[in-house]
C-alpha cells in the first residue's frame, strides 16, 4: 500500500496561498503575488502528477480494478452514531484524472494571467481568488463524501462569483456575477435536497459506501415510490439538478454567457475547463447509483445533455461576441459529456460512455482552455470582443493563430487530434444505445465544426480590418501556456483512457469504430467547408442566409429568449405574486408591530418626561412627600 497522505497538501497549499495573498498580498508584495501564486500552484501541479503516476502505475489493483483510496480523513461533524460528515481526500481514477487536469489548466492560466493581468488594479486580489478557486475545485474533486463535496461545491460557486465580479466597478460584471451566483445557488438547492433524501435513505454520506455496486446503499435502492419514480430516482434527479446548474445545462445555462464578463483567464479556467464540468464529475462520481438504482434519472441526464448541446450549438452559430461563442460551445461540449454518461452502462464495454465522458472532459479542458486563452490574447491585442470588428489577424498574431487553429481542429474532431478520439467514443456510445441521441449529437458535431471555423475565419481571415494601432503578439507569459495547451490538445487523445479511467476501474478493450468515426469526420469537414465558403473572404452569403431564415436566426441570435423568459417568470410571476405579498407582510405586519412598540414607547416617554425637569427641589419635594406618605402608610394604615 502506497502512502498517499501527503495529498492533503494539494488541498492545503492553495488555501494557505489564498490566505497569504488575500491578507498580506496587497500590503507587502502586490507585484510579487502573481509569482507567488503561480509558484505555489506549480508545486501543487508537481504533487498531482506524482500522485497520478503513483496511483495509476504503482498502486495495487484488486482483481484488475483500481481501488478507491481514502488518503486522508478526519471526522468533522458527528451527527449520529452512523451518520457523520468527514473531511478528507479520496483517490480514485476520476479524481486523480481531474487532479491532473485541474492543476495543469490552472497552472497554465496562472502563467497566462501573469501577462494578461499585468498592471491591473487588484492584481494580487486576482491571484488570491484564483488560489481560493483552486482550493475549492481540488476539494470538490477529492471529496470523500457527498457533503464535503457540497461544501466545496458552494465554495467553487463563491470563488466563481468573486472572479466574475472581479471588475466590480463595471455594472455588467456585477450583474453577471450576481446572476451566476443566484442561478447556480438556486440549482444547488436541488442538490442539497437530493443529498438529504439520499442520505436519509442510505444513512451515509460516504462515496465509497454509496457507490459500491455490491453495497447496501444500491441494493436497498428503489424503495418507496413517489409519483411513479422511486425515491432514489428522485434524489438522484435532485442531485443532478445541482450539476445542471453548475454545468450550465438547459434550463440553468443562462448564467454562463454572462459570466464572460470576468477576466478571460477566469473564463478559461472556471467557465471552460474546471468548474463547469463539476456537474459532469458529480454524475460520474455517483454513477453506480445512477446506473443501478436510478436508470430513469440517467435518462434525464442523457436527454438534458443532448438537448443542451444542440440548443447551445445553434445559438453559438449566431453570436458575434467571441467569448460568448466559446461559452455556448462549452455548454454544447458539456452536453456531450452528460449525454455520454446518460447512455452509459456500468462495467466493461457497457461503460464506454462513462469512459468517453471522462475522456472528453479531459481533452475538452485542454482545447477549451486553449481557445479561451487564445481569445484572451486576441482581445488583448485588438481591444474588442466582437468578431465583426476583427479580421485578418493571422499576420499579426502568428502564435495565437496557430494554436487557435489547432484548438478549432481539435474541437471539430479532426483526426488525429485529441478531440477526435474523445468525441468519437461519445458518438460510439450513443450509437450503441440510443439512435435518436446519436442523430442529435451527429448534427451537433457538424454545427460545432461550423461555428468554430466561423469564429476562426472571421478572426484570422475575412476582411482586412484597419485597427487603431497595429495588433501585436502577446508576451511570452501568454504564448507559452498557449503552446503547452496546444501540445496537450494534440496529444492527450493518445492517453489510453480505457485502461485508466473506467466505470468499474477495470480495463476494457475499445477499437475505433469506423462506422461512427468516418461519418463524424466527414460532417466535421463539411462544417469546416461551409464556414470556409461563408467566412474565408468577405461574402454576402451569411447575411442572405440570415435573411432567409429570418425568424429562426432572430430567435437563435436572441438565445431563444431564455433570458427574457426568466425575467418574465421572476418579475411578472414570482415577484408579483409571491414576493410582493411577502414584502407587504414584512413591511406592514412584522415591521408594523415593531414600529408600533417603538412609537408607543416614544409617546409614553415623551409624555412622562416632564418629571425629569432638572429642578432639584421638585425631586426633593417628591422624595419628602413620598417618605411621609410611606411613614403614614406603615404607622397607621398597615396594621
Amino acid at each position: 500500500m502506497i502512502n498517499f497522505s501527503y495529498t492533503i497538501w494539494i488541498l492545503l497549499l492553495p488555501f494557505l496561498m489564498f490566505l497569504l495573498l488575500g491578507l498580506a498580498g496587497h500590503k507587502y508584495f502586490p507585484k510579487l503575488s502573481g509569482l507567488i501564486g503561480t509558484g505555489g500552484l506549480a508545486v501543487i501541479t508537481v504533487l498531482s502528477y506524482i500522485t497520478a503516476f503513483k496511483y495509476f502505475f504503482t498502486s495495487e489493483k484488486v482483481e484488475g480494478a483500481y481501488q478507491k483510496i481514502t488518503a486522508f480523513n478526519i471526522t468533522w461533524l458527528q451527527l449520529t452514531d452512523k451518520l457523520h460528515i468527514d473531511l478528507g481526500v479520496l483517490l480514485d481514477p476520476i479524481s486523480v484524472m481531474m487532479l491532473v487536469m485541474i492543476t495543469t489548466v490552472s497552472l497554465m492560466v496562472h502563467i497566462y494571467s501573469l501577462g494578461y493581468m499585468k498592471g491591473e488594479k487588484g492584481f494580487e486580489r486576482f491571484f488570491a481568488f484564483l488560489s481560493l478557486f483552486s482550493f475549492s475545485m481540488l476539494g470538490l474533486v477529492l471529496a470523500t463524501n457527498i457533503f464535503q463535496m457540497y461544501i466545496f461545491w458552494e465554495l467553487v460557486g463563491v470563488s466563481s462569483f468573486l472572479l466574475i465580479g472581479f471588475y466590480y466597478q463595471k455594472p455588467s460584471a456585477v450583474r453577471a456575477s450576481k446572476k451566476a451566483f443566484i442561478v447556480t445557488r438556486f440549482a444547488d438547492l436541488g442538490f442539497l435536497i437530493g443529498i438529504l433524501i439520499l442520505s436519509f435513505n442510505t444513512r451515509t454520506f460516504d462515496f465509497i459506501t454509496l457507490t459500491d455496486p455490491a453495497g447496501a446503499a444500491i441494493a436497498q435502492g428503489g424503495g418507496i415510490a413517489f409519483m411513479g419514480l422511486s425515491v432514489m430516482t428522485w434524489s438522484m434527479i435532485f442531485v443532478f439538478m445541482g450539476g445542471v446548474g453548475k454545468s450550465a445545462m438547459f434550463p440553468f445555462h443562462i448564467w454562463l454567457p454572462d459570466a464572460m464578463e470576468g477576466p478571460t483567464p477566469v473564463s478559461a479556467l472556471i467557465h471552460a475547463a474546471t468548474m463547469v464540468v463539476a456537474g459532469v464529475y458529480l454524475v460520474a462520481r455517483m454513477f453506480p447509483i445512477y446506473a443501478f438504482s436510478a436508470p430513469a434519472a440517467l435518462d434525464v441526464v442523457a436527454y438534458v445533455g443532448a438537448f443542451s448541446s444542440l440548443f447551445a450549438a445553434v445559438i453559438a452559430c449566431t453570436q458575434t461576441d467571441i467569448k460568448r461563442v466559446l461559452a455556448y460551445s462549452t455548454m454544447s461540449q458539456i452536453g456531450y459529456m452528460m449525454l455520454a454518461l446518460g447512455v452509459s452502462g456500468y462495467g466493461g464495454h457497457a461503460g464506454l460512455g462513462y469512459m468517453a465522458s471522462m475522456f472528453h472532459l479531459f481533452t475538452h479542458a485542454m482545447f477549451k482552455a486553449l481557445l479561451f486563452l487564445g481569445a484572451g490574447a486576441i482581445i488583448h491585442a485588438v481591444h474588442t470582443n466582437y468578431m465583426t470588428e476583427m479580421g485578418g489577424l493571422r499576420k499579426y498574431l502568428p502564435i495565437t493563430h496557430m494554436t487557435f487553429l489547432i484548438a478549432c481542429l481539435t474541437i471539430a474532431g479532426i483526426p488525429p487530434l485529441s478531440g477526435f478520439f474523445s468525441k468519437d467514443e461519445i458518438l460510439a456510445a450513443a450509437f450503441h444505445n440510443n439512435k435518436l441521441l446519436f442523430a442529435v449529437e451527429y448534427a451537433v458535431a457538424g454545427l460545432t465544426a461550423f461555428y468554430m471555423f466561423r469564429l476562426y475565419f472571421s478572426i484570422f481571415w475575412g476582411k482586412d480590418t484597419h485597427y487603431h494601432h497595429t495588433p501585436h503578439e502577446a508576451p511570452a507569459t501568454m504564448t507559452i501556456p498557449l503552446i503547452v495547451l496546444a501540445i496537450g490538445s494534440v496529444f492527450t487523445g493518445l492517453i489510453p483512457f480505457n485502461e485508466l479511467v473506467t466505470s468499474d476501474g477495470k480495463v476494457f478493450e475499445t477499437e475505433l469504430e469506423l462506422i461512427v468515426a468516418i461519418p463524424s469526420v466527414l460532417i466535421g469537414l463539411l462544417g469546416i467547408g461551409i464556414a470556409f465558403v461563408m467566412y474565408r473572404k468577405e461574402s454576402e452569403i451569411p447575411d442572405k442566409l440570415a435573411a432567409t431564415f429570418k425568424y429562426g436566426y432572430k430567435w437563435a441570435y436572441n438565445k431563444f429568449y431564455m433570458d427574457e423568459l426568466y425575467l418574465f417568470v421572476t418579475n411578472k410571476i414570482i415577484f408579483r405574486y409571491i414576493s410582493e405579498p411577502v414584502a407587504w407582510f414584512d413591511r406592514h405586519i412584522v415591521d408594523g408591530t415593531m414600529n408600533a412598540i417603538a412609537s408607543v414607547t416614544q409617546n409614553v416617554s415623551f409624555r412622562i418626561r416632564g418629571f425629569q425637569s432638572g429642578q432639584l427641589q421638585k425631586y426633593a419635594f417628591v422624595f419628602v412627600t413620598g417618605a411621609i406618605m410611606l411613614a403614614i402608610l406603615f404607622i397607621y394604615l398597615w396594621k
Binding site: Q617, V624, T625, A631, I632
Partner: protein
C-alpha cells in the same frame, strides 16, 4: 420652674425662631447670621445635656468654621444686600404642608411612645475619656470611624481644591440656560 427649664425654653425658643428666620429671611447674609444663632443655641443645649466637649466642638467647628465658610461663599457669589424674590406661593404652600404634616406625624409618634426611664448611673464625660475612646481598639473604642473620618477629611480637602480650581476657560453662559 427650675432654672434649667427656663434655660431650655430659652434655647428652644431661640432655635425655633432663628431656624424659621434662617429659612424665610430674604437677605442671604442675615440668613447666615440667623443660622449662626441657631448653632450657638444648639451648643447651649449640648451644655445643658452635659456634653461640654461636643458643645465646644459645635461652637468652634460650626459657628466658627462652617458659618464663616458660608459667609465667604456668599460674598463670592452674591451681593450682600441682594434680596431674593420670593419663590412662588404654590411651592411655599405645598412645601409647608409637607413639612407640617411630617412634623405633626413625628410629634404624634414621639408622644405615643413610652420611653423607658433608665436607672443606670451616668458616665462622666471628660476629655481624657473621649481621647482614650477615640484611639482605643477595645470594645468601646472608636479608632476605626476615627480613621475613616480622617481619610474622609483628607479626601474632602483634595476634592474641594480640585473642584474649585479653575480649569480651562470658564463658560460665561450655558447655551441651554435661557431656553425655558
Amino acid at each position: 420652674m427650675a432654672s434649667n427649664q427656663i434655660m431650655f425654653i430659652l434655647f428652644a425658643a431661640m432655635i425655633i425662631v432663628f431656624s424659621v428666620l434662617t429659612v424665610t429671611s430674604r437677605k442671604i447674609l442675615r440668613a447666615a447670621v440667623y443660622l449662626l444663632f441657631v448653632l450657638v443655641s444648639t451648643s447651649g443645649l449640648y451644655f445643658m445635656l452635659n456634653y461640654q466637649f461636643l458643645a465646644a466642638v459645635q461652637l468652634t467647628l460650626y459657628a466658627g468654621g462652617i458659618v464663616v465658610l458660608i459667609i465667604f461663599s456668599i460674598l463670592l457669589t452674591s451681593h450682600i444686600s441682594q434680596k431674593f424674590e420670593s419663590s412662588g406661593w404654590k411651592k411655599n404652600v405645598f412645601s409647608a404642608i409637607a413639612a407640617i404634616t411630617g412634623a405633626i406625624l413625628s410629634i404624634i409618634t414621639i408622644l405615643d411612645y413610652k420611653f423607658s426611664a433608665t436607672t443606670e448611673a451616668a458616665k462622666e464625660v471628660d476629655m481624657r475619656l473621649i481621647g482614650k475612646s477615640l484611639l482605643s481598639v477595645d470594645y468601646d473604642g472608636y479608632v476605626l470611624p476615627f480613621e475613616v473620618i480622617s481619610v474622609l477629611l483628607l479626601a474632602t480637602m483634595v476634592a474641594a481644591i480640585v473642584i474649585a480650581k479653575k480649569s480651562g476657560p470658564a463658560k460665561t453662559q450655558s447655551p441651554t440656560l435661557n431656553q425655558e
